[in-house]
């Protein structure tokens, strides 16, 4: 039996090199971090002059924060460079870490989708590129999305799940970068994805606003005269709290709104009170002057950092659903499922066992 050295075997070195560059480590730094490996050995692995043992491979994977599997299989997606917003002001290292999370998360999900659906992967449908020539157009674009999702004027109970059902891939990046909330992009012009910060210090309503805002960047085409960020926020507000709902709840014209009214709306629609003041102004319920007065009061209350009313954080479940399906259909081994879930088999089995009550597990 030949090892076919020179084909796939060669690719291991290339994958080690790419992973090392992604985490911005020198050969020496990687050797130090992995322990008991020399810089010269790493150089040999990367240039395919030697193949590491599994023990070395495991240490290298751990040192670089990637799975062993990712070093043993070819990369299946070519992630374009993520376009972070200018306001996010990220350092190079932070950008690279976020790109690595996106690559890893997307690769896992798309691999699993390929296993489950084969070539018939369900696609994102329902809206064509929506032209936004003014802020009002952004409001209209949000209405188109609501129509495509058959949402009417009702609150969106779980925006993450709604978007996942629409085949937008949602990835959580476990990074604590204050200026980073989310980023979105199309992969191969077919697969939309949004990566949101998995940061417990951020609120659920902020996460929902980020998701809706990023959806705007995915589906809208902005005219040069339009400020993209402002329009995307208008879209996000209109998606979470449509004009009809805002006017029905608050009335057509008000001189002042009580914070308790906005708190009730916040909890119902999962959108912050501050954003609701914007909505009230944009929907013509309050004047611009009244809205400014409210924001000043909002700041005075000290709510900028800690707003009353808690909206729960949302978690994506598409991977979980696909894993359950793949396992039930015998499409993947338990070991592979654990690997795609980023945990050991034992942790994975325990986690699965915990999700059902004891008396149900046997059936």
């Amino acid at each position: 039996m030949s090892t076919r050295k020179g084909t796939w075997a060669l690719a291991i070195g290339e994958r080690i090199l790419l992973a090392r560059k992604r985490v911005q480590l020198s050969q020496q730094a990687l050797a130090d971090r992995a322990g008991d490996i020399t810089k010269q050995s790493i150089s040999k692995y990367e240039h395919d002059r030697a193949t590491p043992t599994s023990g070395v491979l495991l240490r290298l994977a751990q040192a670089m924060g990637v799975t062993v599997d990712s070093l043993l299989r070819p990369t299946t997606i070519e992630l374009p460079q993520l376009k972070f917003r200018k306001l996010q002001r990220l350092r190079v290292k932070q950008t690279e870490a976020l790109e690595a999370h996106a690559q890893e998360g997307l690769e896992r999900q798309l691999t699993l989708e390929r296993i489950v659906y084969g070539e018939n992967r369900p696609g994102f449908t329902g809206v064509e590129e929506l032209p936004v020539d003014s802020e009002e157009d952004a409001e209209e674009a949000a209405g188109h999305c609501r129509d495509a999702l058959s949402l009417g004027s009702d609150p969106i109970a779980n925006l993450t799940e709604t978007l996942e059902n629409w085949h937008v891939r949602i990835i959580r990046a476990p990074v604590r970068v204050p200026s980073f909330d989310g980023v979105s992009q199309w992969l191969d012009h077919q697969i939309p994805f949004i990566m949101v910060a998995d940061d417990p210090s951020k609120s659920g309503d902020r996460q929902r606003m980020t998701l809706a805002h990023e959806l705007a960047h995915l589906v809208c085409r902005y005219a040069a005269s339009v400020d993209e960020e402002t329009a995307a926020y208008r879209f996000a507000g209109a998606l979470l709290a449509p004009k009809h709902a805002v006017v029905t709840e608050l009335g057509e014209s008000r001189s002042q709104i009580d914070w308790r009214e906005l708190l009730r709306l916040k909890l119902a629609y999962g959108i912050s009170m501050k954003a609701l003041v914007f909505r009230a102004r944009d929907c013509g319920v309050v004047s611009a002057a009244a809205a400014t007065r409210m924001w000043k009061d909002y700041s005075k209350q000290g709510w900028t950092s800690d707003e009353p009313g808690e909206v729960p954080m949302e978690a994506p479940h598409a991977m979980e659903k696909l894993l359950d399906r793949a396992l039930a259909e015998g499409l993947i081994s338990a070991g592979r499922a654990a690997e795609l879930n980023g945990m050991s088999l034992r942790e994975f089995q325990d986690q699965r066992a915990r999700t059902l009550p004891e008396n149900v597990r046997g059936y």
């Binding site: 599997d69 993947i332 597990r361």
Partner: protein
């Protein structure tokens, strides 16, 4: 000949608390997974536990290169599954698995395959398995819905009962 136990079979044995007993077989019993099981690492000295968590014993460069060859063609198998097979292939050992695709791949590269009950039979023959162990194993497998050959297990039970007579 030594046996490499793949992570799923190792886990199945662990369900019935048989993993530690399997170590006592005294041959090289190996399990490949990403996490070192502290309990197993503190297994009795002389138990000849060589591999667990890919840290104690390792698949060599030849085996790793082979996994990189198999991997793209077998997307439903995990790296741990393939490394278990590579270990057996590299050393001409046997592989304990109950995954049909891994069994097939093992057959293609000439690695003899055992199932979890075969390991139990080995344990029964060396008198380190009891009928009580089998009862616990069966209950655990029922609860976890793990696959195993009930017919083969009945044979193991018969073997133990005959020995007790």
């Amino acid at each position: 000949m030594c046996v490499v136990i793949d992570s799923a079979v190792w886990f199945a044995l662990g369900c019935g608390n048989l993993a530690l007993k399997a170590v006592q077989l005294g041959r090289v019993i190996c399990a490949v997974d990403y996490v070192v099981d502290e309990e197993l690492l503190s297994a009795p000295k002389g138990s000849d536990l060589r591999v667990h968590g890919l840290r104690v014993e390792e698949v060599g460069p030849k085996g790793v290169a082979q996994v990189a060859v198999w991997g793209p063609d077998h997307p439903r198998l995990g790296a741990a599954d393939l490394l278990s097979l590579a270990l057996a292939w590299e050393h001409n050992w046997r592989l304990a698995t109950h995954d049909s695709e891994l069994e097939e791949l093992a057959g293609m590269v000439g690695v003899p395959v055992l199932c979890v009950v075969d390991i139990m039979e080995m344990m029964a023959r060396t008198s380190i398995l009891t009928l009580a162990d089998i009862a616990i194993f069966k209950r655990a497998m029922f609860v976890r819905k793990e696959p195993y050959s009930k017919r083969k297990l009945r044979d193991v039970e018969r073997l133990l009962k005959n020995r007790n007579i």
